[in-house]
C-alpha cells in the first residue's frame, strides 16, 4: 500500500490537472501539480522511485494527450531520476528545499521541452512569448507547493512513514 500510494496520487494529479485545473487558469497558464508531486516524491523516496514515478507520469501524459510519444516520458523520467539522487544530501523537512526544487524543475521541464520540440522542427518563431508563461507557471507552482506539502506531510504522518533527518 505504502509503495503504490504515490502512483495513485500521480494518476489523480494528471486527471485533476487536465480537468478541474483547466478552469482556474491564470493568464492562460495551468499550474503543473503533477510536477510538484513528482518533485516531492523524488526527494523523499530516492532515485528508484523518482525514475519510476517519472516514467509512470510521463507515460500517462503521453498516452492521454501528446502527439509525439515519449516526449513527456523522457523528461519526467530524467527529472525524477536526477532529483532522486539528491535524496541523501537535502533537508527533507525543510520547505525551502522543495520550493527550490520545484522552481528549478519547472524551468528544466520547459527548457527540455523546448529543445526536443526544436529538434523535431516544430516551427516556433516566438520563444520570447514562451518566457512569460514559464515565469507565471513557476510562481503558480511555488504557491501550490505549500498546501500540497502540508497535506502530504500530514498523510505521511498518518500512514506512519517517517522521513529520515540528514
Amino acid at each position: 500500500m505504502k509503495r503504490i500510494f504515490p502512483f495513485f496520487i500521480i494518476l489523480l494529479s494528471v486527471i485533476l490537472q487536465s480537468t478541474i485545473f483547466q478552469f482556474i487558469k491564470v493568464f492562460d497558464v495551468v499550474p503543473s501539480i503533477s510536477l510538484i508531486f513528482l518533485v516531492i516524491f523524488s526527494i523523499q523516496f530516492g532515485e528508484y522511485y523518482g525514475g519510476l514515478l517519472g516514467l509512470f507520469l510521463g507515460l500517462l501524459t503521453d498516452i492521454l494527450y501528446v502527439g509525439f510519444f515519449g516526449i513527456n516520458t523522457l523528461i519526467y523520467f530524467l527529472l525524477g531520476y536526477i532529483l532522486g539522487n539528491f535524496k541523501e544530501n537535502v533537508y527533507k523537512e525543510d520547505y525551502l528545499t522543495y520550493y527550490f526544487a520545484v522552481g528549478i524543475m519547472t524551468v528544466l521541464y520547459n527548457t527540455f521541452f523546448y529543445i526536443i520540440i526544436f529538434f523535431l522542427q516544430v516551427e516556433i518563431n516566438s520563444i520570447i512569448n514562451m518566457i512569460k508563461p514559464i515565469i507565471i507557471e513557476i510562481v503558480l507552482n511555488l504557491i501550490l507547493t505549500y498546501p500540497i506539502l502540508k497535506l502530504e506531510f500530514k498523510v505521511l504522518n498518518k500512514m506512519g512513514i517517517k522521513l529520515k533527518y540528514y
Binding site: S18, F23, L60, G67, F68, G70, L74, F113, E137
Partner: protein, 278 residues
C-alpha cells in the same frame, strides 16, 4: 557497490535512448491508436468527464454570480439585435431567391452531406505548450480520424456552424483527441471572402494564429473575414475561422497576418463533430 552504480546508469541511459527513438519515430510516422492507448483512454475518460463537469459547474456558478447584474441589460440588447438580424435576413432572402445562378451553388452544397454529433470536452492537455483536448465520443459513435470539429448552434434540428475548432487526430472507443487550429502543429489554408484571395494559417506557441497570403499582390486588410478554402484534404470549404487583426507587409514575398479566431477556446465546453464521408 560500484557494479550496482554502473548497472543503474546503464538502465537509465538505455531507457532514455529508447524514448528518444520513440519520440523520433512517432514524430515522423503516423502510428495511429494503439491498443494500450485505447484501453487506458477508455478507462480514464469517464473519470475525466466527471471531474471536468465538476470544474465547469464551479466556474459557471462563479461567473454567473459576477454577471447577474449584466444579464438584464444584455437581454434587452440581444432582443433588439434579434429584430435587427431577422429584418436583415428577410432582405437577404429576397435577394437570394431572385437569383438563379445561386441555385447551382446551392445544389452543390446540398450534395456535400455530412451528419454531425454533439460531443463534450472531457479534458485538456495538462501541458502549457500544446492546445489539445479530448472529447467523449469515439469509434462507438462513428467518429473517424480527420473529422472536423466545429463550434455550432443546433436550431430546429439544423446545424448552424459558428466557427472552426480543429480536427480529430486520434480515436479510441469512447474518446478522441482533438488538435485545435491554434496548436503549433496545426496549419490550414484560408480564403478571404472579400476578394477570394487565399493563404496559409499556422497556430502559434502562445495560442494565437498567424499566417501569410500566397501572393504579395493579394490585398488584405484589418477586419477581413477569413473562412476555410477547402484546399487540402481535411477541412471542407467555407467554415468561419476568424478576423484579421494585423497586417505586416514588410516581407518581400508575402503579407504576414495575425488572426483572431471567432471561437474563445477557453470558454469552449461542447463541440460538434462533422462526420464526413470522404
Amino acid at each position: 557497490m560500484k557494479n550496482k552504480k554502473i548497472i543503474k546508469r546503464f538502465v537509465v541511459i538505455s531507457i532514455s535512448i529508447m524514448l528518444i527513438v520513440s519520440i523520433g519515430y512517432t514524430s515522423v510516422f503516423n502510428v495511429g491508436t494503439t491498443t494500450g492507448e485505447n484501453i487506458i483512454g477508455s478507462i480514464t475518460s469517464p473519470f475525466q468527464k466527471v471531474f471536468y463537469n465538476i470544474g465547469r459547474i464551479f466556474s459557471n456558478s462563479y461567473e454567473s454570480i459576477l454577471e447577474i447584474y449584466k444579464v438584464r441589460e444584455e437581454n434587452e440588447q440581444l432582443k433588439n439585435k434579434v429584430y435587427e438580424l431577422s429584418n436583415q435576413n428577410r432582405i437577404l432572402l429576397d435577394i437570394v431567391e431572385n437569383k438563379d445562378f445561386l441555385e447551382n451553388e446551392y445544389k452543390m452544397r446540398e450534395s456535400l452531406k455530412f451528419d454531425y454529433i454533439k460531443a463534450q470536452i472531457i479534458s485538456r492537455d495538462p501541458n502549457n505548450w500544446f492546445q489539445k483536448f479530448t472529447i467523449d465520443k469515439g469509434t462507438k459513435d462513428d467518429v473517424k480520424r480527420d473529422d472536423i470539429i466545429v463550434h455550432a448552434a443546433e436550431i430546429d434540428n439544423d446545424l448552424t456552424v459558428i466557427g472552426l475548432v480543429g480536427k480529430v487526430i486520434d480515436v479510441g472507443s469512447n474518446w478522441s483527441k482533438i488538435i485545435t487550429i491554434t496548436d503549433i502543429n496545426s496549419s490550414l489554408s484560408f480564403r478571404n471572402i472579400r476578394n477570394n484571395s487565399s493563404g496559409i494559417l499556422k497556430g502559434q506557441i502562445d495560442n494565437s494564429i498567424e499566417g501569410y497570403t500566397f501572393s504579395k499582390e493579394d490585398d488584405i486588410n484589418i477586419g477581413d473575414i477569413l473562412v476555410t478554402s477547402g484546399l487540402g484534404e481535411i477541412y471542407t470549404h467555407d467554415i468561419y475561422i476568424g478576423k484579421v487583426t494585423s497586417v505586416n507587409t514588410e516581407s518581400t514575398l508575402t503579407n504576414n497576418i495575425d488572426i483572431e479566431p471567432v471561437i474563445d477556446f477557453e470558454e469552449l465546453h461542447s463541440v460538434y463533430v462533422l462526420r464526413i464521408n470522404r
